[in-house]
Every structure is written in C-alpha cells, then in structure tokens.
C-alpha cells in the first residue's frame, strides 16, 4: 500500500516540479522558436508516457500485492496487445521525430543573405572577425599564429586586409539579420554557446564548422564554452551584443581592421629594433 502511494507520488511530484519549476530555459533571442516548440511537444508526449507507466505500475502494486490465498494469473503473452502497444509507440516516436527532422533541415540550411562572422576559440578566450567592406573573410592558418597575428590570418590574402578583428572584446550583431557563424579553433575543441540563441556547434582545430541564426532581441548575452577545453574551461567567457543597425555602424567605425593592426605591429617592432640598435 505504502509502496504504491510512494511510487505514485514520485510521478506526481515530477509533474508538479515540471509545472512549477522556476528553472526553465532562458528567454529566446533568436529565430529558433521551433526548437523550443519541439522540446515542448516532446515534453508532452514523454510526460504522458511516464505518468501512464508509473501510475499503471503503482496500481498493479496496490491491487495485486501479495495477500493470503492470491494466485497470479497465467498469461504467457498477448500478441494483439503487444502489437498495439508497439504501433502506438511508433506513432508517438514519429510524432516527435518528424518535426525534429524538419527543424533540423532548417537548421542546416543557411539562408542566402546571411552575413558571415567568424568566431575563434583558443585556450581560454574568444576572438571574433567580421568581413570588411568586401563582405568576405580572408583565409587563415594555425601555422601563422604569432604574437602579432594571434588569429593566424593570412597576410597575403587581399580579402583579409579589411577584415575587422576583435580581441578581448564583445561581439556585436545586428538585430534581425541572419548570421552565419563560422567556427574555428587553433588548439583544442571548444563550443561557442549562447543559451539564448539555442544554437550551438563544436569548433574543431583544423576545420571550420558553422551554424546560422537570426538575432531577434536586442541585449547583451553571455557566451560560454560548452565543450571541455582544459583547466580554465569554465572561465572562457565573452559577450554578444545584439543592437540596431545604426548603433552597429557606430560600433563598427571604432573597430580596427587586420591591416591596421598588423601595421601597428610592424611599427612597434621597428621602433623596438631602432631602439636596440
């Protein structure tokens, strides 16, 4: 008796916890509301199954608990029942899978007009790069990484000269414009993770991965690393600022291009050399 009640209470408590939990996903700031909807749908289907199974079990434990003189029924199988349950399960699974695959198709199909933004992870900080006026990012290579060129950009690539390089600072994005985030790392695996955007992808040294989204809400959002990357994994933070077009232009004006930065580097090197001579 007590056991049956406790089993039932576990199911009820789980549902109550779910309904009243103050711990829920962060308010969405991207176009991926479909992902949230799919999760909600999955919660409904799986929650119903969970409650049904546990409630049935609790009822059995209550109703058929051992008492003097009880004999169990002899019932090796019931083909029909088993097939019905299988078919029902298959339908439930399909109801979750089908929308999931549709949304995944959207997730991996980048719209034509998306602007490219590069995010580079390294132990343990984030750097960003935006294309310059030409709208294209230059090439890069981990072999080119040096104190003057921490992102390993290719100095001979004309496309890269006007790229805007942001280090130790926040990334700014324009509200309502689709972004294709190109992800790159120069040492270990990282994962550019902004909970409000829902999207996420590992960055792999040696190759470039991507995902896309459209920011739908202005504000400042925290960036975390979601793939274990060593001792200071938890401290690898940054911020993304989503703002209106006008503010974004103003911010862009203040940023420096790769060419400017490397010139500055050469100048300081030159002065150092003269000074030492």
């Amino acid at each position: 008796m007590a056991v049956a009640i406790i089993l039932l209470l576990v199911a009820i408590a789980s549902v109550v916890f779910h309904l009243f939990s103050p711990w829920w996903w962060t308010p969405l700031a991207s176009n991926w509301s479909y992902i949230d909807h799919t999760i909600t749908l999955t919660f409904w289907i799986t929650g119903a199954v969970f409650v049904a199974v546990v409630a049935f079990m609790a009822y059995c434990v209550f109703r058929f608990r051992h008492q003097e003189g009880r004999q169990a029924a002899y019932n090796p199988e019931n083909k029909r029942l088993e097939w019905w349950l299988s078919v029902g399960t298959a339908i439930g699974v399909a109801a979750m899978l089908a929308p999931g695959l549709v949304v995944w198709h959207q997730f991996v199909t980048v719209p034509a007009g998306a602007t490219e933004v590069e995010v580079m992870g390294q132990q343990w900080q984030w750097s960003y790069r935006l294309p310059g006026k030409d709208g294209r990012l230059g090439t890069s290579d981990a072999r080119l990484v040096s104190a003057d060129n921490p992102m390993g950009l290719n100095p001979d690539d004309p496309n890269g000269k006007d790229d805007i390089v942001i280090q130790n600072d926040d990334l700014h994005l324009v509200l309502g414009k689709p972004v294709k985030v190109l992800l790159r790392s120069i040492d270990v695996l990282h994962d550019f993770y902004v909970p409000e955007f829902r999207a996420k992808m590992d960055m792999i040294p040696g190759s470039v991965t991507y995902y896309w989204f459209t920011p739908t809400r202005t504000g400042t959002f925290e960036v975390l690393c979601a793939e274990l990357c060593g001792a200071a994994h938890a401290q690898m933070r940054s911020k993304v600022v989503v703002e209106e077009e006008k503010e974004h232009q103003a911010w862009l004006e203040k940023q420096r291009t790769f060419a400017e930065l490397s010139e500055q580097g050469n100048v300081s090197k030159a002065t150092y050399r003269i000074g030492s001579e």
Binding site: P22, T42, M57, E82, D187, P205, G206
Partner: protein, 591 residues
C-alpha cells in the same frame, strides 16, 4: 533443422558433459586466489569492481561538494574537479558496471543458469580476472603519479586530452590509456568464455528459448562488447601513439600555449567516431544485463511468468543490433557533416520501440500477479521508474534538433545518470539482494535493505530529476564553478546545494549496504537452497552455496522454460526447470 520431440522420451541417460575436463583445485591458493572456478572468479570480479566503485563514489561526493558549495572547499580546484569527473565517469562506466555485470553476474550466473559445471575455458577465465585487476591497479596508480590522473573527461577527446592545458597530461593520460588497453584484453578473455559457454555448455534440454532472460541479456551484451571494445582499443592505441611517439592520427595543426606544435593534419572527429562506435554499444552493454536481471526479478517476485517472453528475446536481439548504427547521436554538435543528423536521429528513435516493448512487458507482468514486495522487487520497481525516466529524456537528446540546445548541459548529465547510472545500479542491487543467498547461503538483512533501498532510490531521484532543469536553464556540464552568470538565478545555486546534500545522503546509504554485505555473511538468516521459490536452475543446485562443479554427479536435465510460475493445476506456484513433467515422473523414469 532442430529435431524437437514433445513426446517426452523416457529414461534419457543423464549428460555427463565436462566431467573429464573439469579442473580440480589442489591447494588453498588455487581454490581461493588463483582459482579457475567461475563462482570464485565472479566474487573476485565483484569485490574488485565494488572496491574501485567506492573510489568513484567518493569522487562523486567531492564533485557534489564543489558544485553545491563552490569556493567553500579550498582543497578542490578546477584541475582537481576535472580529474574527479574523469575518473568518476571512467570507473563507473567501465571498471564498475561493465566488469560487475559481465565479470561478476556473468561468471556466477551463466554456468549455473544454463546447467554447466563451469565456464568452458576456466584457465582463460582466471587470466581474465587477473588482467582486469592489473587494469584497475594501473588506473588507481594514476592518483599517485606526478600531475595526477587525467582531467580530459571520460570521453578523452583529443587534442585536449594529451595537451598541457589539461591536468594529468603526463602519467595520467598515458596510464589511463594503458589501463583501458589492459581492460579490453582482459575482457576479451572473459567474454569468449561467456559466449562459448552459452553456445556450447548448455545442459540437455536447455534450448535458447528456455534460457532465463538474464542469460539472454548477458549473452547479447557480451557479444556486443566483444565487437565494440576493439573500437576503444584502436582509439586508445592511436591516441597513445599521438601522445608518446608524436604521430598525428587525431592531432591537427595546433598551437599549444602560444607555441606551434609538431602535430599536423589529424582529425579529432575520427577519434570521436571510434570512441562512440564503442561508446554507444557500451550503453546497452550495461543496459541489457540489467534488462535481463530485472525481467527475472519481476517474474520471480510477482510469481508470474514474464509477459511476452518471445518479444523480450527479440527486443534484446534487436536492440543489440541497432545499437551499432546509432553511435553518432553523441556527435550531433561535434561538427561532423550535418546530414548525418537525419540518419542517426531516425535510427536512434527507432531503437526506442523495442526498448518501450520491454518496459510494457515488465509492467504487464505485474498485472494480475501476486506481488511480493521483497527488496529485489522494490529495486526492480525503482529500476523501471528510473529507466523509463532516463529513456524518455533520451528521446529529447536523440532527436537531433532538440539535442542542439541541450547537449553539453546538465540535462545530458542528468539523462545518462538516470538511464545508465541509477537504473543499472538498481538492477545491480536488486540482483545482489536476490542472489546473495545463493552465493553465501545467508539472506541479507531485511531492515537494512529497506533503509538502503528507500534512501538510494528517493535520494538518487532527488539528485538527478531536478538536474534536468538546470540543463534546460542552460547550465553547462564539466564546470567546476558556474560563477557569476547573468542567466543563472540564485535559486539555481540553492537547487545545486540541495542536490549535493541528497547525493551525500545517498552515498552514506551505500556504506550501510556494504555493512549489510559483510554483517549478513556471518549473522544473516540461513537461506536454504531456494528461498525465493524460483524456477531457474541456479536455485536447484544440490548444495548452497553451490559446490565445485555446481551439480552433483549428474547434470540437471531441463524440461521446461524458466518461467513456470503459478501454472494452473500445479501443486505449487512454481515448477523448477529440471522438474520432469507429471507424466514422465509417474512412469518412474529418470527424476
């Protein structure tokens, strides 16, 4: 084709299989230490696994202390936290669960349940244990090498695993890989035994479809493990090459702490494919024996045949086969080709169907049963709840697009602890309470068992159910300290503290369990040969604990399946598998 005769043949001569080959221990050393008796090896495996498991348990306390009360314990820093999670995960998954289910339960139960005298290759079986012990010792030694154990996470993803930004870059990772290689060699020796014993040493009348589901589960899991562990072997050897010889199997061109390394061109994704080609079957290697054990516990303690035995067998086989084509669902956000997502999401969700059938059949076995709420039964009920819970959250993570926001968060941690941490451990406990009387001849203490069960079940549920919601919130895993983070409310820290307290209490209950194991060995109630009035062969041995060679002069003959409970018209509510049909015994034929 198989020749089946239902017209019970009278007076079949008893099988005398294996009497010639049976090894006989000559001294105390060969009887209890370097023993070739599967029952002794099983106990050795179990004790070793539980001992190293206690280490992993203590590590989990330290982790929970840090997570619940960050900054309070100055002796835990970021490096140590990573080392704790790595060792905790690796020990629990491989050195505890795999070893305990296959090396422990497998060794003890397979020969007894199929009516054999011993495993078919006893010497290799003994070697298997000693190699396993060596692997455990090598693993444990990493705690004492300079730099400590590796902190690469139990997945050991390169490049991070072998670079200097990760703790334990020297001895830690090298010995970890060496230990895994040893474990796999040792396991292969044991695994060959389990498979061939089931294939070859079944006693007369023990057809596959008469085997208890425990044997089916362990057998299928062993076959899977034999085929899947080579993937971990290959990955470990190649990673060891990268670390020690400077090859670039997995290592791309990269910059380590501002310095360009000599590595170049390798593929970190390749490691992940190899790792998960092992890693996903591993989930079912742990789950299938648990499925089998739970089926038998429920059937025995509800005094009712398992509902839909055939479906249960087919589901085990189907799950075993399917589990080899779902591995990349661990890699949805790894940066592999996005189109793989469609395939792997589909296969992953299909595997939910045979799994669901198993759950339905367990609860349908309870329906109109005669449910004895013994400790093993309670653990079986708890298994169903935690397994269903964890299995259902698997439908979130298996559905590729839902996985995107949830991967690498606490939701994943909660999911896999529920489904392959708590649930299999419930099966382990249920199994131990159930078979301890056969192993020792004494019952485990009931009151301590009740305490242990309720604290463990409710406590563990209180730890891992709320944890899903921290994941939904976006709290990443493998963070020793989430720190000041805008989207994490203060209440989340309180929840973490609550979970930590619950975890410590659950941990304490395990000490009570260990105490019970030792105390009952001497003071437990005498069990007799068949305390649960069960049908399967291990309860029908002439001696309890079973003597050397398991059976007396003659091997048992099997006349029925393992689930003849509450058969209408029978004198008792169970008929042992080796009890001849009424017609046959009336003729005075062989008993």
């Amino acid at each position: 084709m198989v020749d089946v005769r239902f017209d019970t043949i009278a007076g079949i001569p008893p099988a005398e299989v294996g009497e010639v080959d049976l090894y006989h221990p000559r001294s105390w050393w060969t009887r209890y230490v370097f023993s070739q008796d599967a029952k002794v090896i099983a106990v050795q495996y179990s004790i070793t696994a539980m001992a190293i498991g206690m280490v992993a348990l203590v590590l989990s306390w330290l982790m929970r202390l840090q997570l619940g009360f960050p900054g309070t314990f100055s002796f835990i820093d970021a490096n140590q936290y990573l080392q704790f999670i790595t060792m905790h995960g690796m020990i629990m998954v491989i050195y505890l669960l795999t070893a305990l289910f296959l090396g422990g339960f497998g060794n003890y139960l397979i020969p007894l349940m199929v009516g054999a005298r011993d495993m078919v290759f006893p010497y290799v079986n003994m070697l298997s244990y000693w190699v396993y012990l060596l692997a455990v010792l090598v693993l444990a030694s990493t705690f004492f090498v300079p730099g400590g154990p590796t902190g690469a996470g139990w997945t050991l993803y390169p490049p991070q695993a072998i670079l200097s930004g990760t703790p334990g870059q020297d001895g830690g990772i090298i010995l970890m890989l060496a230990s895994l290689i040893l474990f796999i060699i040792g396991f292969t020796m044991g695994g060959l035994n389990y498979v061939v014993t089931v294939l070859q040493a079944r006693t007369r009348g023990m057809t596959l479809m008469r085997m208890p589901l425990t044997v089916w589960g362990i057998f299928t899991a062993t076959v899977m493990a034999l085929l899947a562990f080579p993937a971990l072997f290959v990955a470990s050897v190649m990673l060891l090459f990268d670390r020690l010889l400077g090859t670039s199997f997995f290592m791309p061109t990269l910059v380590e702490m501002g310095e360009l390394t000599k590595y170049g061109g390798g593929s970190p994704i390749l490691f992940q494919h190899l790792f998960w080609f092992f890693g996903h079957p591993e989930v079912y290697i742990v789950a299938l024996p648990a499925f089998g054990i739970i089926s038998d516990l429920i059937s025995t303690h509800a005094r009712k045949n398992i509902f839909g035995y055939r479906m249960m067998v087919w589901a085990i086989v189907a799950i075993g086969a399917l589990s080899f084509i779902v591995w990349a669902h661990h890699m949805y956000v790894s940066g592999m080709h996005p189109y793989f997502g469609f395939f792997f999401a589909t296969t992953t969700l299909i595997i939910a169907i045979p799994t669901a059938i198993k759950v339905y059949n367990w609860v349908l076995t309870l329906w109109r049963g005669d449910i004895h709420l013994t400790i093993p039964m309670l653990f079986a009920l708890a298994f169903i709840i935690t397994f269903v819970n964890g299995g259902l959250t698997g439908l979130f993570l298996g559905n590729v697009v839902v996985d995107v926001p949830l991967s690498d968060t606490m939701f994943v941690v909660a999911h896999f602890h529920m489904v392959m941490g708590i649930a299999p451990i419930m099966a382990v406990f249920g199994g131990i309470y159930h078979w301890y009387p056969k192993v020792t001849g004494r019952m485990l203490n009931e009151a301590l068992g009740q305490f242990h069960f309720w604290v463990t079940f409710l406590g563990a549920y209180a730890v891992f159910f709320p944890m899903h919601y921290l994941g939904l919130l976006g709290m990443p895993r493998r963070y020793h300290d989430i720190g000041e983070t805008a989207f994490i409310p203060a209440s989340a820290h309180d929840l973490n503290a609550f979970m930590s307290v619950a975890a410590l209490i659950v941990g304490f209950a395990q000490l009570v369990f260990i105490f019970n194991l030792i105390w009952s060995l001497f003071k437990g109630r005498e069990a007799g040969g068949n305390p649960w009035r069960a049908t399967s062969l291990e309860w029908q041995t002439p001696e309890t604990p079973p003597g050397h060679g398991n059976w007396g002069k003659e091997l048992p003959i099997v006349y029925r399946w393992a689930y003849d409970y509450s058969v209408p018209g029978a004198a008792r509510d169970f008929i042992p598998q080796n009890e001849p049909p009424a017609k046959l015994s009336a003729q005075g034929a062989h008993p």
